[in-house]
Symmetry: C2
Subunit: 339 residues, 2 copies
């Protein structure tokens, strides 16, 4: 345990929405002391996720942006250090959206105990956490893949996409991933066991995707947007479903202008009777317990694989997030804040 | 009954997709004679519908276009004149997609008997037919309005829209129509009993729509597209549903270019967790019987009102369709082919 508490706050709104290292500032202070009924937690693992890009912009979204000087938001796994709260004991491991800080006294944040013996703790931030449950819920509750159908998932090497494709295969569907670059595609095919993976950086991407989906696409799990979606849409089958939970290309400015228009999209959606449904992880709180149970089971059976990129130390979280937003990683990105 | 059979065929593909009177040609011939097991039908009522615009273009859609020289497609109500088919007797009234012709011997078309005593026959082409069932199915199976929610419907004075709004009110929701011009808006409010109707031709349309929907929009039944949709989208509530079954502004070229982009649409759909589902009438064949039963009941109780624009004579069907596509009508447009 470090002698001082560290936290990372938002120092400035990034110009043109492109985050830089000076977007954040590391602050140090005394480790807080819990009052009556309170407890002290120390963060063990911090999750880095694409949605964070949206939290630092000053634009309305599904939640208010983080204020300047405010602690960066993020899901974390923490350990109870000392407790005046009869519900929690030292050594308990908790999950919550407790932010980029090393030590803290929670003030009403929603915290839930995780089973420290079932899985490595960082996995509760990945395939057994928000990204995994997002993929599980979007695929099974909206996509509803049937055996033999083709499921395509963008950002297939990320924690959400990896879960979507592997769960699709567990349910008897064919999984085709889309990822950026040959290394990620190899990982998706060889380690995660997708049937195919197509590199969206290839100049023949659209043709390659069509070849990888000879029976068309029944479920497209959308998390990329932009040119990838424009290649997917013509391949979609009648009654295709498209769960949509985050558009990376919307997060980052400078993407190529779309050539698909809204009327053209709508015309295709009617012709093919396509369903597109936006959703967020939090909409599926009611199935989270079942999702984590299934995912834990599949991990233990070797049916659900994952990889992590570990950033060492809270101070390196900003650099880790910038890397993630550039796509310079494979699998779930986590920060090891403490051992 | 006329001495000769008349039929209207497609004479040419309309230039730039804009239909003109010379798009069609009236042909006359002998009234056919039914062979063994066959029957002769005469058409009483023919339905004119916006989807027909798509059938005459040479572009892939959910069905192949009508060939040059082919009989124009259309739903019709016909009467059995003579029958060598033991299942049907002279005087039976049948519904089927039997096209723009006065007399014919059906060759395997799907025909279904309608109850000639329950409703005026033309209504089986309107609120108790394809448009009404389309509105009923899209609203109840996809839109799923809850009591107190706000349902907005485009093209509210048409047969689909009129059904959507009135069924929404029957289910306890608030119905706000969108229509073109003060006369149609008056009809929608005063005759159909919608809570509000907003004129999309007004320069303050977007502001008027916002005022008519103080609690936002929970269900938007889409059938217009273009600028109307762009005014609707910002008003949509979290978890809003949008059944979408035909975009008139896509059918007719020359509409203003959309300002909404696909990435912006998708961003909003995620933020607000909106569902958009394309559908066609035929997808809901399994609920058609229940729909027609409910609709007939509501008509008899005075809860579901409708108006018809009647075109006299098969020869005037092309002009009627052009009027319909220009929006120069109120309610369902039908052609009286014979008494």
């Amino acid at each position: 345990m470090s002698e001082t508490a560290e936290r990372i706050v938002l120092a400035a709104r990034p110009p043109q929405g492109i985050a830089r290292l000076d977007t954040w500032r590391l602050e140090r202070g005394a480790i807080p002391t819990p009052g009556p009924g309170e407890m002290l937690l120390r963060t063990l693992w911090l999750s880095l996720d694409p949605y964070m890009r949206n939290r630092i912009k000053d634009e309305p979204s599904y939640t208010a942006p983080i204020p300047i000087g405010g602690i960066m938001e993020g899901d974390a796994i923490s350990e109870v250090v000392s407790s005046n709260n009869p519900e929690f004991a030292p050594g308990d491991i908790l999950f919550g959206r407790t932010g980029w800080q090393s030590h803290f006294v929670p003030k009403g944040e929603k915290l839930r105990r995780v089973d420290k013996n079932a899985l490595p703790l960082s996995v509760y931030l990945g395939v057994a956490g928000m990204p995994g449950v997002t993929g599980y819920a979007g695929l099974l509750e909206i996509g509803k893949p049937q055996p033999g159908e083709t499921v395509v998932v963008g950002a297939a090497s990320g924690a959400v996409g990896a879960t979507v494709g592997q769960v699709a295969r567990i349910k008897g569907a064919r999984a085709v991933g889309i990822a950026g670059g040959p290394e990620k595609c190899r990982y998706v095919r060889e380690e995660l066991g997708f049937d195919e993976c197509v590199d969206h950086r290839s100049p023949t991407f659209a043709a390659n995707l069509a070849k990888a989906c000879p029976k068309g696409i029944d479920v497209y799990f959308e998390g990329i947007g932009g040119p990838v979606f424009e290649a997917v849409l013509p391949l979609m089958n009648t009654f295709a479903r498209m769960p949509m939970c985050g558009i990376i290309s919307v997060y980052t400015p400078g993407q190529p202008a779309p050539t698909l228009s809204v009327p053209a999209l709508m015309g295709t959606m009617i012709t093919k009777r396509i369903t597109i449904k936006g959703f967020l992880y939090r909409d599926y709180a009611s199935i989270e317990e079942r999702a984590v149970k299934d995912i834990t089971q599949w991990i233990s059976e070797g049916k659900l694989k994952y990889r992590e990129t570990v950033i060492e130390g809270l101070a390196n979280a900003p650099e880790g997030l910038l890397k993630l937003l550039r796509g310079d990683h494979i699998g779930k990105v986590v920060v090891r804040v403490a051992q």
